[in-house]
């Protein structure tokens, strides 16, 4: 009986240490936040101090100077289009592939899953060539089409795994009742897939919002089609960065991700773990 309290105390001490470390883990973000309100001299002189005033002047200046409304508009457009198209097409394909036992179905499944096994970096060069050949380089449409294609494999794979556990009797009932294939899908199957669809939506929203590589490769330096990440990268990754504008810019680009994380925390953590099989 004497041992137990001691063990408990040890555990608590450890918990406190790891918890303090977690605050330390967050420090880079906190430092960026507090310094984003300071003029450059104050950043250097009082790096760790709170700003003298919480003025939003630099935020407003960055917002207008770097065309944030357009950048956020582009990023939202990419995210919405990608997610909507994925939610429309991925479950249809996954459902049909899981329910059809034919050679064609197998071939289609392999074609969709293949990219999960080979690293993106191995075909990104030829992808940019292909996009250039069909005249989509630097265009919003090119970015959207590529994003959809890149998000599709994991989405189909995850939904496919889920559909296998949905009882087939439900669809048969609907068929007997005279509902067509397409109606059965939309009124019976799709609602049953909501849990896995939430996961897919969460994963793809984060992936598209935070994407820089695709936008960099497809859109490159075309300012009107850049997303927010690419624009920040192009503006501020030079040797001597303009930190007075960069820091508010970074903070503003992170706010949507953070709000999304706080409101959807459970789904994000669960969804990303489920997506881990992607490897």
């Amino acid at each position: 009986m004497n041992k137990k309290p001691k063990n408990l105390r040890q555990v608590n001490a450890l918990t406190i240490i790891i918890f303090l470390c977690s605050i330390f883990w967050l420090m880079p973000l906190v430092l960026i936040f507090i310094n984003s309100f300071k003029p450059y001299n104050d950043m250097i002189q009082d790096f760790l101090a709170l700003p003298k005033s919480w003025s939003l002047a630099m935020y407003i200046e960055t917002w207008t100077k770097f065309k944030f409304p357009m950048l956020i508009g582009n990023t939202l457009l990419y995210t919405f289009c990608t997610v909507i198209m994925i939610v429309l097409m991925a479950p249809m394909a996954a459902y049909k592939l899981a329910r059809t036992k034919s050679r064609l179905s197998k071939v289609c499944f392999v074609l969709i899953i293949m990219p999960m096994m080979v690293p993106f970096q191995s075909y990104m060069i030829t992808l940019t060539r292909l996009v250039a050949n069909v005249n989509l380089t630097g265009k919003r449409m090119g970015n959207i089409l590529v994003n959809i294609g890149l998000c599709m494999p994991l989405a189909v794979y995850m939904i496919h795994g889920f559909v296998k556990n949905v009882p087939i009797e439900l669809e048969e009932c609907a068929c007997i009742d005279g509902a067509g294939k397409i109606r059965t899908y939309f009124s019976i199957v799709l609602p049953l897939l909501t849990p896995i669809l939430t996961t897919v939506v969460v994963l793809d929203t984060l992936a598209t919002w935070n994407d820089i590589i695709t936008n960099q490769l497809i859109v490159g330096g075309n300012a009107s089609a850049m997303n927010i990440q690419n624009a920040l990268y192009m503006q501020f990754s030079a040797q001597t960065a303009d930190w007075e504008h960069a820091l508010p810019g970074i903070v503003m680009s992170m706010i949507p991700s953070l709000i999304f994380f706080i409101t959807m925390q459970k789904h994000i953590v669960g969804g990303i773990t489920a997506g881990a099989v992607k490897g």
Partner: protein, 294 residues
Amino acid sequence: MKNNKKAKELAVFALFVFPAVAFVLFATDIPFVMNLYYSVFDWNGVGKSMTFVGLDNYIKIFTHDTLFWKGVRFTLKFAIFYVIIVNLLSLTVAIVMARENKVNSVGRAFYYVPYIISLTAISLIWKFILGPGFEALYTVTGWDIFNWSWLGTPKLAFYVVVIMAVWQNLGFYMVNYIAGIIAVPTELLEAARIDGATAFQVFKKITLPLIMPAVSICMLTSLTFAFKLFDIIMVFTKGGPANSTVSVAYNIYKEAFVNSKYGLATAKSLVFVVFVLLVTAIQMKITKSKEVEA
């Protein structure tokens, strides 16, 4: 009649499946196959002139390309550091914070936040901290560690890349480990404790064998992440200083987009794919053999 029904079924199948297939073909499958084609040509990516060179590109990679092999060495070294550090740290955090309570859930969220932030933000954040931030800290503390040129010295730049990668991804592995730990039946742990096992013995003999599935997922994802290391390099160090942080994937990217040697770059891509697939296959075999059932 029968043919009619079959045709109708095929039409429905096409309606459901082909749109998805078309997108994947466009964005991934066709580019991947194009690799095979370009890899036997000498081509600058822009001009019309493509010279067929057979396997020359492949021979070049294995005989003349010192930068590529430098990249391989960097990637392997990074993989060793990254896989060990990120797994040890995240497993430690997961063990301590596995229990559900307020403190733990806040702590976990803190560890997790860097994982959902974009790479641009992350690289700019670290650039700011290592630059103006360390400059400021040096004037306050006078510690040499803040005065070192972290991004200008090859040796230090390597550690910066490792630290950044660990900082960004720890939360992801932590969540995977926690999911594994929660699934360990508590009766087993209690029984062992009643039998007088110490906390360390319980962990080594019961928890660890039972969370091997989580361990193998984390090992596999961290290993493939390390081999595919590209985004951080492209956005953050750009391979510098003095090509000391050029990973294999970044070397391929540079070969195509900076040196304009598309043929050679696509040949390298294929060597890279084989390399990644081989290592992951071996890794999977090793960890799978260590899994046990509860």
